[in-house]
């Protein structure tokens, strides 16, 4: 089936089998391997991407054909003109990762969390990221990173970072 998906602002027209999962479409058909596949059973959140700007979805639990005509944001689409997105910078600054496998999903779930709640409490962040598993950090630094990014993103455009 022919589908057209806008990924990180670029339109990808591909012929896919209906059973192709969005995560594999992104990795294998679009060559965007920043979307990781962890548990493969919609538990771990490594494969989270953003659909239509404000919805975090597990790309291992959605067919690519369902994304036909929609916009997807993956971790590759966050940095602009060589400058890291405030969330990426915050994960770097706060050491919000060790092995990095969960990081794309963590960052994109956080991206949607901050879209809906610009000033989340620590509890809001921990609850908001409950669908994303990290086996290295113990979450402390991930929470700090999201707090830093929230603060940066609350600054007027042009300030901060």
């Amino acid at each position: 089936m022919k589908i057209k998906v806008t990924v990180n602002g670029i339109s990808y027209e591909r012929d896919v089998e209906p059973r192709t999962l969005l995560a594999y479409f992104l990795r294998e058909d679009c060559g965007l391997t920043g979307t990781h596949v962890g548990c493969d059973t919609s538990s771990c959140g490594c494969c989270v991407v953003v659909m239509d700007g404000d919805k975090a979805v597990k790309a291992c639990t959605m067919f690519a054909v369902q994304a036909d005509g929609h916009e997807i944001l993956t971790v590759e689409g966050l940095a602009q003109a060589g400058k890291l997105h405030p969330l990426q910078q915050a994960f770097w600054d706060q050491h919000g990762l060790q092995c990095g496998y969960c990081t794309p999903g963590m960052i994109l779930s956080s991206y949607v969390l901050l879209k809906h709640n610009a000033s989340p409490s620590e509890a809001d962040i921990r609850e908001g990221l409950a669908g994303n598993l990290c086996r290295c950090t113990g979450y402390q630094n991930i929470v700090k990173a999201v707090q830093q990014a929230a603060e940066t993103l609350r600054q007027p455009a042009g300030a901060g970072v």
């Binding site: 059973r19 192709t20 975090a56 639990t61 969390l113």
Partner: protein
Amino acid sequence: MIPAAFEYLRAHSIDETCAYLQQHGAEARVLAGGQSLIPAMRFRLARPAVIVDINPVAELNYIRPDGAVLAIGATARDVEVERAPWIADRRWSLLADVSRVVADPVVRQMGTVVGSLCHNDPAGDWPATALAGRASVVVRGKAGTRIVSIDEFLVDSFTTTVGEGEMAVAVHFPVPDDRTAGSYQKVERKVGDFATAAAAVQVSLDANGTIRHAGVALSAAGPCAVRVEEAERALAGQKPTAELIRAAADAAARRSVPQGDLRGSVEYKKHLAGVLVARGLRQALARLGVQL
């Protein structure tokens, strides 16, 4: 783990969905949020030959008051309940509670209320909630539309009264009066795991503080969600007391017929069902200003 091949059909209206379902019969499955169906297909527990995607059906995407009921359309997501403007009203506290504990926050952005009812997982959250809230399901088929009480709708594990060529288009929750509150109590090993046990409770009081009626239901307590009729009968017409809550909890523990597994033994889960019903009743009553 890639699903078996299937034919993908995209529907744009209820009529088109029903036409596809009538054409393909038992071979076809409806895809809404997909958060249960797609994992089942990946594990090859489900191998539908035809998938009818209802996500583009605009007329199914709503949550709205409809006279005496709150109507939730087949593609309305869990997160839309969680963020609904009326959700903080205590009358809807059962729905408010459950909408925060279904699966995990990412799954809730795709998962649907009606899909959860149709999947009818023994440990699902919405079936018990619908029982306690006395919901009904709107089913559309060749012969027209029928409205089925949730008790009749939930038949057995992963089985409902939706037949071949039919689809569930909405669930209706009766709008509770303003002396009503609820509670959803769930114990899970970690976020996103199936419930070890869960209880859904909704209580309506008379002006004089007597319980007018109560809805009490359990999840992960048998082949599918169960209504604890003995507890509901015991509560109705009584003044709420600690003894009454204990009697309802004991009835729930007796009614629970869980399976022993890694999450706990039969004995533990039966005990837990009673504890969760007691906690739920206390919280619902506290929301109505009655501290016990």
